[in-house]
Subunit: 350 residues, 2 copies
């Protein structure tokens, strides 16, 4: 059944007043807020019906109404107006986007920090790729008789390196040979495949050389491992402590725990919507049932895209958050497009 125009504008008013004041809103307040002039009694009748229909809720008998998740949903789908970013805001954001393109990991944390600063909500950022990450290139650099540097470039264009203390002396002249070997037999492999390959190699190589190869491959495994694991960066989690809905330490604790410990379970948009909004119980995760998530994706280049999400109470200024987040995502896309991450041969092939 379709909602009357008036019902809709009442819902809209309820959401907007509740978002602004964080208190149940009563019939009088709505009457004042509506463009049409109607009496509070009329509003009361309408609200009784809307409650019946599941759009509004009462914390207790003699309080005003608060929007239900269903109400928020219809609000974001139909009712909410395009939030207009103020000149100030866009300028601030543009300034924030003037950062130098850095290593992807740092990039993500930085993006998160920026957004969190603008939103006053916790933010998470991650990069998602379509394919499994592999090593695409090895380099070994000699430091001295016993130490060398392993440089590993992964399929998502990250380059990681570390100083390794050889368990046996390493000949500087040998290193290029070993690197060539690594590049030949250990590239394009997932973590498990790497370990296997290494096992198979054990017999074919002189012990000393094998030690070194093994160290390098071990390192590469480590890199791949936390390329998968530590992909999510959360920032500004404690901002929720400023919000009235998390004044209860128990609730705050629950959400904070989730954000810091299980952040990998944070939602990623399924379809290719630029921005997706998940309201309260629409979240699968138990810990997010009372919270909402707004998540946007942007182009990173390569076969990757970046995800950046804002977590807040269901009472969230969806219009504003969505507007800001899209703006940011668009900005990031542009940034990555300019300082383009180079295509690796392998990507170009397909």
């Amino acid at each position: 059944m379709e909602l009357s125009e008036r019902k809709k504008s009442i819902l809209k008013a309820v959401v907007e007043l509740y978002v602004a004041l964080a208190e149940p809103v009563g019939s009088k307040a709505i009457a004042a807020a509506l463009p049409q002039s109607v009496s509070s009694a009329t509003i009361r009748n309408e609200m009784a019906e809307l409650e019946e229909m599941g759009y509004l809720e009462k914390p207790h008998t003699s309080a005003g109404r608060i929007p239900s998740p269903k109400c928020y949903r219809i609000y974001v789908n139909e009712l909410m107006e395009q939030h207009r970013l103020s000149q100030q805001e866009t300028e601030r954001m543009n300034r924030a986007l003037q950062i130098r393109l850095q290593e992807l990991d740092r990039m993500l944390t930085q993006a998160g920090q920026m957004v969190s600063r603008f939103m006053n909500y916790p933010v998470y950022a991650l990069a998602a790729g379509k394919k499994e990450i592999t090593v695409v290139r090895f380099d070994l650099l000699s430091v001295n008789e016993t130490d060398f540097i392993a440089v590993v470039m992964t399929s998502d264009h990250r380059v990681k390196s570390q100083l390794l203390h050889g368990e046996c002396p390493v000949d500087a002249a040998q290193l290029p040979v070993l690197a060539a070997l690594l590049n030949k037999d250990f590239t394009g492999k997932t973590q498990e495949e790497l370990s296997q390959q290494l096992m198979g190699m054990a017999a074919q190589l002189p012990g000393l050389l094998f030690m070194t190869v093994s160290q390098a491959v071990d390192y590469a495994c480590g890199v791949l491992e936390d390329a998968c694991r530590r992909m999510v960066y959360t920032t500004g989690a404690n901002r929720i402590l400023d919000l009235p809905e998390y004044q209860d330490v128990g609730k705050a604790n629950q959400l904070l725990r989730f954000l810091s410990e299980e952040s990998t379970a944070l939602p990623a948009p399924e379809d290719n919507d630029p921005v997706q909004i998940l309201i309260g119980p629409e979240n699968v995760e138990q810990a997010l049932q009372d919270s909402s998530v707004v998540v946007a994706s942007y182009d990173i280049g390569g076969d990757m895209r970046g995800l950046i999400g804002v977590v807040g109470p269901t009472r969230m200024d969806y219009a504003a958050v969505e507007a800001r987040l899209s703006y940011f995502a668009a900005g990031l896309s542009r940034m990555f497009d300019q300082g383009k991450l180079p295509k690796h041969e392998e990507d170009v092939k397909e």
Copy 2:
């Protein structure tokens, strides 16, 4: 004026009872806890004096006493007994210490996470060097006509690398030459010196080459910059929400903010005590006035040492925390000693 034996044992009892129960402790409870059998009335007299002297405080007239910071101080200095780690504990810790030596940054966060898990308090970890960090080595690796990898090794043995998209074509053959140039003129320099040096170079090099050099040096600057800045890793901050002293959201918020935003201001031990304890107002930082910090240092190798600190309420089980932290620090020292970070030539010289 010296405290009588009995006064001391009363203080000890007050601290230990208060630490255990988080409630003001009364004369009767103390009488029961003391080895000597004395009446609660005697205790009351003694406590009145101790309060006079500033060791004890009363939240209000008819409540028990709680220890003042001064009391905690004398407790850690003289009264507290060596906490004996249980077999279980040491085993768990040993198991935790079986981690593979990785990049220093990751190492620190890992150490922090481990300790925090054992302590149930927030933990911060950082590495402090005596000298300013400089770049000790550059490498440039060719990827394709336009891209190359910059590898930078710093004086604290970190190796960082990134894929750079050349603003102009880069000739693979040229790269070693440029790297040699970088190693000659840009090593052993602080961030500011790097920038200066680069300015001076602008005129002397063909434009195209200069672009590339400039990109590499820029990257090195970035590395040095956040080698200084992002040196502190905090973990488990929200554990404080489980403690009764931070049930007040305001207090919790203040401390959490401090931990996440100004963690660089966290205390580092001045002298070379293995473990240092800072109690409440002994902390310089405003935000730590009601909290205590136990911080230990351990040897990382090179000219660096690692710092690891536990933050908690003044009502903290100092004996246990100190014991665990020392054990951990010792373990970390040993680890770093085995998988020794190699000395760099420069360090060896002096």
